[in-house]
């Protein structure tokens, strides 16, 4: 009995002999059988009693998962989260999703095969294995085949193992001791790694700082950006006053934006009446203006219940109230131009016809929300 032995290695040159030796030694149950070879030797895995690899099942599972995840992701992005019709195809057009499904399947399956093999099944990286510190490893990764009888209990008989290997044709035998293990990671080693990470962060940070502060930055593709033309707000040496944009001639009035001839909405109510006839297209236009500009505060039906949160504050007028129903068209028009309470002027946003169209639509809402029997007939 020798407690400090990890394994007994017997070296062979001939692949026939090592397989034969493994077959002979295996029934004697001297210890766990293992082989170390520079290349895979056919039949050696069965001779030392290894089960076939289970990798295939894992790869199958992950491949199917890749296909499923890809299909779900493509379907979800294309049909649910951002439904986009392209070329009149169905939103969930699975045929078009197949190429990406295939690629993701291959990606999942191959990386499972490679990484699970290395890291999970073979438990690499492992730099402390006793065989790596044996004298024989130089030959093992070169041209020798090693059959190893490894100690599994304190009763391991290394002499019997050695004899068995010699009897079965091993050219030389090495007894690999259990290495004198230090703790996996000493405090000093740990501190070194921490110090290295900190140092790397400091260097990277300082380097980035220096790069940003000291290096001249050349903006890419500025030639598309800086064209030799005058932009509205750019300085110009050509025009007096140095302005790039030309001011309008004094007294210029934009079409549809005549300044108001009244001082208050009440005054407008007495002066103006709606000049536009109420037609289907006028009602549509009014509905658009109302929806774009009014509904957000006055509510989609004009009842003064805003689409905005109550937290916004203001108390928008209720168009369905008797007070507003009684006001003349010109009054409403005046409010649109001059604003009222918290409401700003819409003179710049809406031209004259838009404003009158909105007034028509308010009248339509008032009637629709208070419909009489004959309206519904």
């Amino acid at each position: 009995m020798s407690s400090g032995t990890f394994a007994v290695l017997g070296l062979f040159s001939d692949a026939h002999k090592i397989v034969e030796a493994a077959k002979q030694i295996r029934p004697r149950k001297l210890g766990r059988l293992e082989a170390y070879t520079p290349y895979p030797v056919q039949g050696l895995d069965r001779a030392i009693g290894l089960a076939p690899s289970r990798l295939g099942r894992l790869v199958m599972l992950m491949g199917v998962m890749g296909a499923g995840l890809a299909l779900l992701f493509e379907g979800w992005t294309s049909a649910v989260d951002y439904p986009l019709v392209t070329g009149g195809k169905a939103l969930f057009s699975w045929q078009a999703f197949v190429p990406v499904m295939f690629e993701v399947t291959v990606l999942f399956a191959t990386f499972t095969a490679g990484l699970a093999m290395l890291f999970a099944l073979n438990k690499l990286p492992f730099f402390g294995h006793p065989v790596l510190h044996s004298k024989a490893i130089k030959d093992i990764t070169r041209d020798k085949l090693a059959l190893s009888i490894e100690a599994t209990s304190a009763t391991f008989d290394s002499e019997a193992a050695r004899q068995a290997l010699v009897d079965n044709g091993a050219e030389s035998v090495e007894i690999v001791p259990v290495p004198a293990w230090d703790r996996a990671l000493s405090l000093v080693g740990f501190l070194r790694i921490v110090a290295a990470i900190v140092a790397a962060c400091v260097v990277a940070g300082a380097g980035l700082y220096a790069a940003e502060k000291l290096m001249p930055v050349v903006p890419p593709m500025i030639h598309m950006h800086d064209q030799p033309k005058l932009n509205a707000f750019r300085k110009s040496a050509f025009f007096p006053g140095g302005r790039g944009m030309r001011p309008a001639v004094a007294g210029t009035v934009a079409r549809g934006h005549l300044p108001p001839a009244f001082a208050t909405p009440e005054e407008a109510g007495t002066l103006l009446s709606n000049p536009l006839p109420l037609t289907q297209s006028m009602a549509e236009r009014g509905r658009k203006v109302f929806g774009d500009h009014c509904a957000i505060c006055h509510g989609p039906v004009g009842d003064g219940v805003p689409l905005l949160s109550r937290a916004y504050g203001g108390k928008p007028g209720n168009f369905l109230s008797n007070e507003i129903r009684a006001r003349p068209d010109g009054h409403l028009f005046g409010v649109l131009m001059l604003g009222k309470n918290a409401m700003p002027s819409y003179a710049a946003d809406l031209d004259k016809d838009d404003r009158w169209a909105a007034v028509h639509y308010i009248r339509i809402l008032q009637r629709a929300q208070n419909a009489k029997d004959e309206d519904l007939r």
């Binding site: 290349y39 989260d81 990406v100 191959t110 492992f126 050349v218």
Partner: protein, 456 residues
Amino acid sequence: MKAATASLPEALRPLELLQGQVTPGSLDDQVLQFPAQRPPRAWYVALAVTLTALGIGTLCICWTFYYGIGTWGNNRPVAWGFGIINFVFWVGIGHAGTLISAILFLLRARWRNAIARFAEAMTIFAVICAAIFPILHTGRPWFTTYWLFPYPNERGLWVNFRSPLIWDVFAVTTYFSVSLLFWYLGLVPDFASLRDRTAEGWRKRIYTVLCLGWRGAASHWVHYDKAYLLLAGLATGLVISVHSVVSFDFAVSLVPGWHMTIFPPYFVAGAIFAGFAMVVMALTVVRKTMNLANLITDNHLEVMNKLILAMSCIMGYAYVMEGGTAWYSANPYIQHTFKNYVSGFYGWAGITTIICNIIIPQIFWFRRMRRSIPAMIFVALAVTLGMWMERFVIIVISLHQDYLPSSWHKYIPTKIDFGILLGSFGLFFTLVLLFARVLPVIATSEMKASLSERQP
């Protein structure tokens, strides 16, 4: 074994894949010596040349960044130009590596062992070269993530999964990562061999980390073999899918000359064709300068030349099929485009394509030509030029005159276009040269396993 096969007709005898006595030990001494040696002077000269090319390309790319994509010849109908020609060309070059490492592995073609590592490396470098072009072609490469990858963003947008362009992104990125993984897995046992034959020092430390503590345990080989087999099977599907997806970029559109069902197989065959030419070209140089002629024999090169001949015939068939499609479609637009391939302003490009891809490789019907180094370098150069020209024909000629004559426009590439193309060749061969000196150019563990007397 020799005695048993001597009575067979020559075509049925297994190929002699080794010259002289090769043992696992001598293999290691021969292949794994290079990383520890100082490279010869010729290597430095070659590196200087490739780095110069790479430098010119880098300057041209910087100029593109500074001045904008307007420095390229791309215009309104020919929006793809060199950017996509070079992308398709380089992705195609990569396909030979995966074919050799995956499909020929599944077919148990033993001759692949000696050249697989080198071809896989060329795959990875070619895909790196390919990736440069579409990224530059986006115009503002610093926004590439934003356009190419589906990630949750504040704009609430997703990529359009019904577009072949996004299939391409998935295919090429998957192809690159899988090729890299495949290559690395093959290198792990070789890194272990390098670790154990290198004296203490920084090299040994690097190999120790890279081989992850590989110790060649039989219990590890079981899983390793299985993983390699699975990867080969999956990569087989992948290699066919990648260039098919690249061809969808064309075939799914309606441009005359592109909208054909023959495109996917035609593109895959063309990719393997161009890739094999590049592998043959590089291997003839490598085996001469690195004295590997006993491992990469004339027989290896001859088999590859036979494959080039076969692919050339498939390409010829595809060209004829294209013509047949144009004729049988009775579609004046497709017929016009097909006539443009061999006549008109760019007719010389189509003629060059046919001469280089279909006619010149026919010399490989003669055994003497298949085994002659100058002949195979000539054919390889011709095929490389021809396959690049083929992509030029497909992209430029189809685009420059499509349905609407008022938008027809000629495409003239600029010096910057050629500079970036040169730079991609510089990058490719720089990486090949570095690889040849730093990593094992032949997969030694695979070679050892296939030496006939090394298996029970």
